[in-house]
């Protein structure tokens, strides 16, 4: 156990910080043209991706030919810590960089790597991830979107929903059913579909907060034809890819939640005295307790995340990692709620700014956090996973 990393890791940190200071997009540049969805690539974002890729800083854990530098897990952690601390997004197409590109690199052929994976890494294309459907949310294997192989083409019919960034993406990494006769986990494949193909229709689903810049969409596929060569990997290995793709950078995904919590907790502690000022002693004590609890949750998430990471970095199993999504998303919600309740009726005021990255008020933030507790395996699913996979309780 140690509070700091060893000298070689700190050298790595300094090297990255020096590079970052020189090449990072400025805050003004980012604010002037913010990314409006999770597949929108403003000009600064395209330039930034290219610079990261060329310098080997895009995915430090990968080999140089994939835009990396063979960094170890601890170095990758340090890299992400510093990017987040600097307030610079690593990408404005997180599903593309985090899931789609690595999946194509792992499973796709050379043409797909050239036409899809590398363009994502270089900030030239953005992808969206076609997974959830109206009848297949937490239970992804129930998906019904059909891709029927007819000669040298797939004909695709069906509907996706909750598709982040579909309104800006160049293509979709589409999970679809290619063998309706097979057991439900087996008949699923992945096909790459350009979003401008005839028969693809995107209908944004504005969210309860920030409706002017929707990120979520419904995507309808009606007789969409794509060449059979758009199949990624083998027929029927979609389920393996869904599990594998979600495991990319598995050791690091917790950091985003933890760093976000730290920042939010810091803001809450800084703002709280102002709101506490005019309260009576009893109300103040009650609110103070809620604020301290929220702060403690953020610290607990940080310690739990780093503890799990230390096990992961040593190559051991880290059951903590199964807890992090649940914990961080619920802690974010509790923290926002503590802030909102502290503001009383004033907390009802809408934030003045429109746009995708406004300074949400705590109450707006509270509603936004439900994106975290509902998506990517709801908190209820997370508890089931912990109970069954980590604790070994029998399936009901």
């Amino acid at each position: 156990m140690r509070l700091s990393f060893d000298a070689a890791v700190e050298d790595f940190r300094r090297e990255f910080l020096a590079w970052l200071a020189e090449h990072r997009p400025s805050a003004a540049e980012m604010a002037a043209d913010p990314a409006r969805s999770s597949a929108h690539l403003p000009d600064w974002s395209r330039r930034w991706a290219r610079q990261l890729f060329d310098a080997g800083w895009l995915v430090p854990g990968w080999p140089p030919e994939r835009g990396g530098r063979n960094a170890g897990p601890v170095e990758q952690l340090v890299y992400l810590e510093e990017l987040m601390r600097a307030g610079v997004p690593r990408t404005t197409n997180p599903q593309g960089l985090g899931i789609i590109a690595p999946s194509i690199l792992d499973y796709g052929n050379a043409d797909q790597v050239r036409d899809y994976a590398l363009p994502i890494l270089r900030g030239e294309k953005a992808g969206c991830l076609g997974m959830s459907e109206p009848g297949a949310g937490s239970d992804l294997a129930a998906l019904a979107t059909r891709a029927e192989l007819r000669g040298d083409r797939f004909v695709i019919d069906g509907q996706k929903v909750w598709t982040s960034g579909a309104n800006y993406a160049d293509f979709c990494f589409l999970f679809c059913r290619t063998d309706p006769a097979a057991p439900k986990h087996r008949g699923i494949s992945v096909v790459l579909v350009e979003m401008d193909r005839p028969g693809v229709q995107v209908k944004p689903l504005p969210e309860i907060v920030g409706r002017h810049d929707p990120d979520l969409n419904e995507v309808f596929f009606t007789g969409v034809e794509v060449p059979a060569s758009q199949l990624v990997g083998q027929l029927g290995n979609g389920w393996a890819m869904a599990n594998g793709s979600l495991a990319h950078e598995r050791g690091m995904v917790w950091l985003d939640g933890v760093m976000g919590l730290q920042a939010n907790a810091g803001r809450l502690i800084a703002d709280a005295p102002h709101w506490l000022e005019n309260l009576g002693a009893t109300e103040r004590a009650v609110h103070v307790d809620a604020v301290v609890r929220a702060y403690a949750d953020a610290q607990a998430a940080r310690c739990l995340g780093y503890r799990g990471f230390a096990k992961f970095a040593r190559g051991g199993s880290a059951p903590e990692q199964a807890l992090m999504k649940l914990m961080s998303s619920e802690a974010r919600q509790g923290l926002a709620l503590a802030g909102a309740e502290l503001q009383g009726a004033r907390g009802l005021d809408a934030s003045p700014q429109l746009g995708p990255f406004p300074g949400w008020t705590p109450l707006e933030q509270y509603f936004v956090t439900f994106g975290g507790t509902i998506s990517a395996g709801s908190s209820e699913i997370q508890r089931n996973i912990i109970a069954e996979k980590v604790l070994g309780l029998p399936r009901g």
Partner: protein
């Protein structure tokens, strides 16, 4: 930050666990509850293994390890509801003596603690509040030494410790005075968890000669007491988490084997979600506990905040684990015959002593500037 035990630390933990599983089966704390045991043999075993001196310098005869290892032993002792003088001697008195610098008195006593020749404790709380600002016990200069007058409560091993470090207030602030246990009037408390022995002390003009003044009244003593209290607090937090982890393990096991409606009760989602929450509570309290231990080991400026975070978290953890652990065991956990209550009572005690979760959140509020200090 690396928050996982090193190889040496894991070995120490495994070694301690092996010894305790053998020397401190549930029958031992049960016998203490039922009045036929004090745990003296277990203490002799701990002394033979040099545990009292785990965090005492090698030069003083200890193992020369740090706060992480100290807390690790405390966690394991909590796990087995072990009785005995370890908490009071090794996590309360020894750290306070270590804060006294290089005084001959402190050094000599640390040597004897490490050798297992001395047990001790710290008398700090008054009216069961472990807050320095509330200490009213008086230390008046008398001849070359001091005369102590006042009341102390909730003193760990207060009726049995060889030496008691009394924290009392002089004209220049708090001071620390080492008094032989048999010179103090101690009233043992009858506790729901007798594996922890508490006593209330009355000091009606106890004379302390100059050579028994550990730290003379003044700001240095106040700082030393705060820092030592941080060590005791984190050790107790982890001891409490250790008890909670055992409650969790037993409840999980029970949910897997207990069948109703022709299926294990652990297959019902209503129980699964509660067990997942219990597991999360134990893991987060462990992580915050070891973070705090690490800030002590490296003397990081966050140590006071981390200690309060750890203790508050341990308190919240036991609140969930005791309630859910008992509820999910159903009727069997409600019986004296079943061992579960041993851990339930220890976990409750671990929260209430050295300041509970509410008190530590109040401290955090002051540290974070949310309320006036």
């Amino acid at each position: 930050m690396d928050l996982e035990l090193s190889e040496e630390q894991s070995e120490l933990r495994d070694g301690v666990r092996r010894v305790l599983e053998e020397q401190c089966p549930p029958a031992l704390p049960r016998a203490v509850h039922e009045g036929d045991e004090t745990g003296a043999a277990l203490w002799r075993q701990m002394v033979a293994l040099a545990w009292p001196g785990v965090a005492i310098a090698e030069a003083q005869g200890g193992l020369g390890l740090g706060a992480v290892e100290l807390c690790l032993v405390a966690e394991e002792l909590g796990r087995e509801v072990a009785p005995g003088p370890f908490l009071a001697t090794a996590t309360q008195l020894a750290p306070l003596l270590q804060e006294a610098g290089s005084s001959a008195l402190a050094s000599e006593r640390l040597g004897r603690i490490a050798a297992g020749a001395l047990t001790g404790t710290v008398a700090l709380a008054e009216q069961d509040r472990w807050e320095l600002g509330r200490i009213a016990c008086e230390a008046r200069r008398e001849g070359g030494g001091f005369r102590l007058t006042g009341h102390k409560t909730g003193v760990f091993d207060g009726a049995t410790a060889d030496e008691i470090a009394v924290v009392a207030r002089g004209d220049e602030g708090l001071g620390v005075f080492l008094v032989p246990g048999d010179e103090l009037k101690a009233k043992p408390r009858r506790l729901l968890d007798p594996t922890l022995a508490l006593a209330d002390l009355t000091l009606d003009g106890v004379d302390v000669p100059a050579e028994r003044v550990v730290i003379a009244p003044g700001p240095a003593a106040e700082r030393a007491v705060s820092r030592a209290l941080e060590v005791a607090t984190v050790a107790l937090a982890l001891a409490t988490v250790g008890a909670c982890r055992r409650i969790f393990e037993q409840t999980l096991e029970y949910a897997k084997v207990r069948r109703q409606y022709e299926r294990p009760i652990g297959s019902f989602q209503a129980l699964k979600h509660r067990l997942a929450d219990m597991y999360l509570a134990v893991e987060r309290a462990t992580a915050l506990g070891y973070f705090a231990a690490l800030t002590l080991a490296e003397d990081d400026p966050r140590r006071a905040e981390a200690a309060s975070l750890a203790k508050a978290e341990a308190g919240d953890c036991q609140r969930l684990l005791v309630g859910e652990g008992l509820q999910l065991h159903g009727g069997i956990g409600f019986t004296w015959e079943h061992d579960l209550h041993l851990w339930l009572m220890r976990a409750k005690a671990g929260d209430a002593l050295l300041g509970g979760a509410t008190e530590h959140r109040a401290r955090l509020a002051r540290q974070l500037g949310l309320v006036a200090a």
